[in-house]
Amino acid sequence: MAKQLKSQYDVIVVGAGPGGLAAAISAKKNGADDVLMIDRDLELGGILLQCIHNGFGVDTFKEDLPGPSYAQRFIKEAQGVGIDYLLDSMVLDVTSGRKVFVTGTRGGFKELQARAIVIAMGCRERTRAQIGIPGPRPAGVYTAGLAQRWVNVEGYMPGKRFVILGSGDIGMIMARRLTFEGAKVERVLEVMPYLTGLSRNYVQCLMDFDIPLQLRHTVKRIIGKDRVKAVEAVQVDDRWRPVPGTGEMIPCDTLLLSVGLIPENELSQKAGVILDPMTNGPFVDDGFATNIPGVFAAGNVVHVYDLVDWVTKTGLTAGRRAAMFAQGHCNENPVFVPTAAGENIRYVVPHRIDPETLTQDTIMLQMRVTQPMEEAVLVRVTDGDTLIAKKRERYVRPGEMVSLKLRERDYDSVRHAKELRVSVAPL
């Protein structure tokens, strides 16, 4: 905890979830003396603290940890290396001049100056408004993450009989969690013709407990004025329109929504950070620098990752670069090569790379595909007719990120490229 808040820091990290923790640790280890983390919650760790299920850290620690354990390793390390932090505090404003306005009950209202800022606010859940579910507005329509907080952290059950809309990971994990706590999960509905979360979660969260999953189904209508009484489920066609005559009333008292996450960039926009409408996150380079000098992005504010290990990795990179920026060590005039989304690729992160990075480090290109391909495919990075890198995948699915590593050996071809176009096609 920050005993005495300074008015100036080398690096201020907004958000102390996995992205923010990694960024702060990395900034400190890379020479930033004064590093401050700010979080709105009462504890460090972010959303990981409510993700009590296992499955975290398989890549980072080669262990299968629950969310709080994964977080605690970083919390301990952050405390160990002497990072200041401010909790129960909300950042109200970040400026392009790297001023941070923050308010909290203990610290009061403060204006802080940073040499570099890492934005690591994570993401928020899509709501019923964004998918336009018809019906009135009773109590009992909650996002899955909200229910997760109530059940796992605050100790309340927000319903007895649940229908879950969306086969994202949080939705499936909540289906199991609620079942463990004695609730009945009537069904999981998914509007797409495929699962949107990880298939292992389908096995261990739904199949294990005989919770039915209906693909190509959605909620046609919510019933209940004060509290949800039922939902009407319906099959949809290829254009997501209800198929007449397929409506089915499912009595329940709660509808949980697991219908996607959106990077949380309200603050970034206040600082003048430009967002990519495809990712809803900032345009970033391979060091996770945004368009505003000295403002870096880490974790799910960039785009929504499917694994926390990736979030940690982006934090480590963003934190290191922020520390370098704060100390005035950065590539003065980088000549960036843009990335581009080719065939069956929805987007590529980072949006541009500095080839010089490859002389010291690898660069991970991360993509989401538009359509699932359940066969062996080749992911290719090309510049016109020139193949720069490739990778085989056994399948690609929109719910699972595709990664491709650029290495030192690619330096020459990347340096001479006009763009790095990523595409995926059957072998």
Binding site: R40, D88, M90, L92, D93, F101, T103, G104, T105, R106, G107, G108, F109, E111, R124, E125, T127, R128, A129, Q130, G132, P134, G135, P136, R137, P138, A139, Y142, T143, G145, L146, R149, W150, V151, N152, E154, G155, Y156, M157, P158, G159, K160, E181, G182, K220, R221, K225, D226, R227, P242, D253, E266, Q269
Partner: protein, 495 residues
């Protein structure tokens, strides 16, 4: 045990609350009853939040008269009661040349109603609203139009009434009238879900249920309220901000689907107009959503569905009263009367648009009606027209925020991230003259949960704060009164 009042008002929507506030300046014992757990939950809760200039009301109707009279009252009212109001002006926007020709009808109507208006070119319109369709040919500009916070206005009026001595009883539903045993056709009080109350006057301000109330009084048996549903979208202000109030060229049924700014900077799109049966039926429908989206796109083609942050529906209490002026062929006029056939009854009904705008003039008219009926209303010396404002954290400068947090650290804890609502504001509303005791009540007063995450972040925190401040178990905290509890049991108490 009988309580005796001079005036009992049924219904705490905008008309009931404004009437209570207007009458509170006189030496009267007043009771305001409301069947919901809060004021402002019926028709007033969901509408376009506009203060109409009165250009389109049919000349000669009570609607036109009340609208035009009320419009200029809103500046002073918003200053006295400290709620949000902005005189933005309004536009009827003509897409294509045919619609442009029709603007003359409305210019003429505005003239007849005494409302100033002018026709401007498409080019000028696009300059004033860059997001507007390139096919806009021109517009009728009405400077007197405005936007308000209908929740804030109604709650502030009720609060001002209460601090000036009006008694408010929530969760109290009107059931029937009590009649005099000595004098024929004289109402002396009412039965409610919370017991009997006696009053010399009963004012029907029951909104969507005004027909049922007047029928119990034996008045206007042919009068019917039709709930006319209107659906709306609210857009993310970070993605699009319309700066103006934009009406399409209206059709016979409604003012059409408008695209308008709100006081919170979010663009509002709607409403459609669908006559339904259920007076509490605020469902949004797939058809309705498609209809308003099409309507919105007509004026602002750049709207993007991904930027919708809320969808809601409201009900207009549409009446079927003919205009009192027999020369005017109009059958949806306001009812504002002391009917001849019963004594002690003031009848207010059919308050669809421009009901919100007209509410202060209607309240003033009620005062006149009572005076005409021989009530010697004596002004109170200590009547205070001012409802003191409470701090609104997001509206303050950084310096003011710092000072407020230094004074009371609870204002430093932001509970609603999207709308920057602090714990201090929530606590203040829970302990206000009309205590906010539900989540929705807090929302209506602070705008909390009205942003992009729809309360996903603040909800558990607000439940905690409500429980703590009200001394209740969190399991008893509701969204909007009994039956809308958020939580069922503690996690480790299975069974």
């Amino acid at each position: 045990m009988h309580s005796r009042y001079d005036v009992i008002i049924i219904g705490a929507g905008v008309v009931g609350c404004m009437t209570a506030r207007w009458l509170s300046r006189y030496a009267l014992k007043i009771l305001l009853i409301e069947k919901s757990s809060d004021v402002c939950t019926g028709a007033t809760a969901a509408n376009s939040a506009l203060i109409h200039a009165g250009y389109d009301a049919v000349p000669g109707t009570l609607k036109a008269q009340m609208n035009v009279k009320a419009n200029p009252m809103w500046d002073r009212l918003s200053e006295e009661l400290r709620f949000g109001f902005a005189r933005t002006g309004a536009y009827i926007v003509a897409v294509g040349e045919d619609e442009f020709q029709k603007l003359d009808i409305f210019l003429d109507r505005a003239g007849k109603n005494g409302v100033s208006a002018e026709i401007i070119s498409g080019e000028k319109m696009r300059k004033r609203e860059p997001n507007i369709s390139p096919e806009v040919f021109g517009a009728l500009f009405v400077p007197a139009g405005g936007v308000c916070d209908p929740w804030g206005a109604t709650i502030a009026a009720a609060e001002n009434a209460v601090t000036n001595g009006v008694e408010l009883r929530l969760d109290t539903e009107f059931q029937d009238f009590l009649w005099s045993e000595h004098e024929p056709e004289r109402i002396v009080g009412m039965k409610t879900s919370q017991g009997d109350f006696y009053g010399r006057w009963v004012i029907n301000a029951a909104g969507l249920f005004a027909d049922e109330v007047m029928h119990k009084a034996g008045v206007r048996p042919e009068f019917r309220i039709t709930p006319r549903r209107g659906e709306y979208f609210v857009m993310d202000r970070n993605q699009i901000q319309i700066q103006n109030v934009l009406f399409p060229v209206p059709n016979a049924i409604s003012k059409g689907i408008l695209v308008t700014t709100t006081l919170h900077g979010n663009t509002l799109i709607g409403p459609n107009a669908e006559n339904i049966e259920d007076k509490t039926g605020v469902d949004v429908t797939p058809e309705g959503m498609d209809e308003i989206w099409e309507g919105g796109k007509k004026l602002v083609p750049g709207l993007d569905r991904r930027h919708i942050i809320a969808v809601f529906a409201g009900l207009r209490p549409a009446g079927n009263a003919p205009c009192l002026n027999l020369d005017v062929d109009y059958h949806h006029d306001f009812v504002i009367e002391i009917p001849d056939q019963v004594k002690g009854f003031v009848n207010l009904a059919g308050m669809e648009s421009p009901g919100l705008t007209a509410a202060p003039a209607i309240a003033e008219r009620v005062v006149e009606l009572l005076q005409e009926a021989g009530e010697g209303l004596k002004p109170k010396a200590d009547w205070d027209p001012i409802r003191p404002a409470r701090p609104v954290f997001r509206s303050l400068s950084h310096e003011e925020q710092a000072a407020l947090v230094a004074k009371d650290s609870r204002y430093g804890r932001v509970i609603c991230r999207c709308e920057s609502v602090s714990e201090g504001e929530i606590v203040a509303e829970i302990h206000a003259p009309i205590p906010a005791t539900t989540y929705d009540a807090i929302k209506r007063r602070t705008w909390l949960g009205a942003g992009r995450c729809l309360g996903g972040f603040d909800m558990p925190r607000v439940v905690d704060i409500l429980a703590r401040e009200l001394g209740k178990d969190p399991l008893g905290i509701t969204k909007k009164g009994h039956g809308s509890e958020f939580l069922f049991r503690r996690t480790k108490e299975v069974g």
